[in-house]
Symmetry: C2
Subunit: 252 residues, 2 copies
Amino acid sequence: MISKSQIKLITSLQQNKNRNKTGLFVAEGPKIIKDLLKAGLQLHSLFSSTSFNASGDIRSDELSGFSDNMILVSQIKLQKISALKTANTMLAVFHIPKKKEISQNGLQLALDGVRDPGNLGTIIRLCDWFGVTHLICSQDTVDCYNSKVVQATMGSIARVTISYVDLEAHFQHTDLPIYVAVMDGESIYEETLPEEAILVMGNEANGISPNLTSLIQKKITIPNFRKKDTAESLNVATAVGILLSEFRRNGS
Amino acid sequence: MISKSQIKLITSLQQNKNRNKTGLFVAEGPKIIKDLLKAGLQLHSLFSSTSFNASGDIRSDELSGFSDNMILVSQIKLQKISALKTANTMLAVFHIPKKKEISQNGLQLALDGVRDPGNLGTIIRLCDWFGVTHLICSQDTVDCYNSKVVQATMGSIARVTISYVDLEAHFQHTDLPIYVAVMDGESIYEETLPEEAILVMGNEANGISPNLTSLIQKKITIPNFRKKDTAESLNVATAVGILLSEFRRNGS
């Protein structure tokens, strides 16, 4: 049985302010829930329309003592608390992990004002693939615990360290070289990119904030191979994929 | 004024079978409509909630004699015929362009069973950016004139040549080397990729069709930089971006 107050709590977590207030977020589907548990995130509550043995998706030992608190609900109730058009068989509430200090080494990705949840989700998946040490987001970037973001990461959100900070202050206190992707930079094919750096991506419409430009050492660009009447820009997530691959190819 | 039969025709075009029957498709928003007109596509009808002079988005001379047939409608009527949650100020019906023969040179991209409209739209945008000669889709790839695909291309659909064919037959009759992206191929960072080739991408869940494997010369892979507990795959559109960039970097 799921109580009225539980339903109210879970649906309230679709809003950023309620996630901030409670320190909780929602993940849906056995695959993502399993990945989050494996990464050591603290489970708050778990709702399922199938028993674990029946579903086979999560073994009870993977729940490390939590399975007693697992609540069986009907698929109709699950749809009621789900943020998805069609609910999965499982929904979990997790505690948002504690903030981690940003290290001063490795390859970091900084996002300045990326608003689209699907793009942020895809970018988190790319950070996971390319072993990005830390994903640093400006305060006006979409919240990574937004349910659309969580689902689009396909579980990668469990493995990527993400912080929301004042980018200007962060850039002022780093020793890493800072690169930005723009339309009029140096071709990535002619530049040898370092293994340790911060790569900054602005949003597609406005680029990066003016207060950051003086803090950036190097402008780079993905060359366009159709000179006339071409696409004006690439989607920010696909551009991140191409650039992270370029940063990694030299160290591989 | 928009007639009942016009409303019926336009909403019917949300289905693939009706697009095939009529040879028509819908594009929404002045930006995409302008790009399609510029690329020489034949306009069937145009509906707008603002006059051209008022909107400033399309100048009347860009409509080359068609402006007489432009129909002014209310925003409410536009919402009624729109496939978007929130309609733009303009909706156009275009004739699907005639099939073009697939040339035997350049860089071609072949998609085998890509089903997600957003992914196909992003891939078309990438083909535009990287100057892909021809995008070749298997018959079970989502239709590129699906409204979600058209919108996701951001106008690039006007500039990319796309064909739906039997991939097996096409691969049997080409002289181009055929590359496929898989999990266990040669690292793209260690391989010198040719300027002229066919790159094949399967769908994320099932890879490529078994009948194609014997026709492929080379398997390539995007290396994964987090060896443990990592993302199992990249989104197909981001993988296409990274791979097209790799094919182009050697010729740049």
